[in-house]
């Protein structure tokens, strides 16, 4: 598996738009879209949890070349909280219930659009990383908080 590429992010954006998927880039991949200079391995998507969105996600993933059998599709449609996909052209994590964020609708209201990519606000990305309590998130948080300060200043926000 090669590294995730910009072209593949565009394919996600376009396929998800065609199928009407409600989603946001989250995690470090979201921060990178916002300009955070760091490294990561795959893309994390915060997806709205609903049967309709689940069906749209499955259709979009199949469009993208993910091989999902009916059982796997049913798990995505049926309300699992976390799905890890390594059966397609790139690795993808679908997060239906990220730590530290109460509701998709709240994160959607706070989202930032970057070249057509819907991205969680840095406050939500940071809240989610704080809530995981993982070693790898703890290590990246100080730099991410500094980037938030920089990003808010750059965009003229308080």
């Amino acid at each position: 598996m090669a590294a995730f590429e910009y072209r593949q992010a565009e394919e996600i954006r376009d396929a998800f738009a065609r199928r009407g998927v409600h989603y946001l880039f989250i995690g470090k991949s979201g921060a990178i879209l916002l300009g955070f200079p760091d490294t990561t391995q795959d893309a994390d998507l915060f997806v709205e949890k609903s049967p309709e969105n689940g069906r749209s996600i499955v259709a979009a993933l199949r469009d993208l070349g993910f091989t999902l059998d009916d059982g796997q599709a049913a798990q995505i449609e049926g309300g699992k909280d976390f799905v890890q996909l390594k059966n397609g052209p790139f690795d993808l994590d679908l997060v239906f219930a990220p730590d530290g964020i109460e509701r998709f609708a709240d994160a959607w209201r706070r989202r930032v659009e970057i070249e057509g990519f819907p991205v969680c606000h840095l406050d939500d990305i940071i809240a989610s990383k704080e809530a995981t309590g993982r070693a790898k998130d703890r290590d990246s948080l100080p730099r991410l908080r500094s980037f938030r300060e920089y990003w808010l200043q750059r965009h003229g926000l308080p």
């Binding site: 391995q41 790898k136 500094s146």
Partner: protein, 72 residues
């Protein structure tokens, strides 16, 4: 970019943030996304967890500590 007095951003990080801001998104992607094999995690094509807590627990119980997925 000037930062206001009292900014706590370390100078080397600020320089990196500003350099990144000058790059097109496509270039930032090329620098940011890498791929290395992650033992156990990369060995199954599909996993689904009922709850995020289940996923965290699975990571702690099954992944090598050095991957950093364990809670501290």
């Amino acid at each position: 970019m000037d930062t206001p007095a009292g900014s706590k951003i370390p100078a080397d990080w600020l320089a990196e943030f500003e350099a990144a801001a000058r790059r097109p998104l496509r270039t930032r992607f090329r620098y940011a996304f890498i791929h290395t094999y992650k033992p156990v995690l990369d060995d199954e094509p599909f996993r689904a967890f009922d709850t995020t807590a289940d996923y965290r627990r699975w990571c702690e119980e099954n992944l090598p500590d050095w991957l950093g997925y364990g809670r501290v």
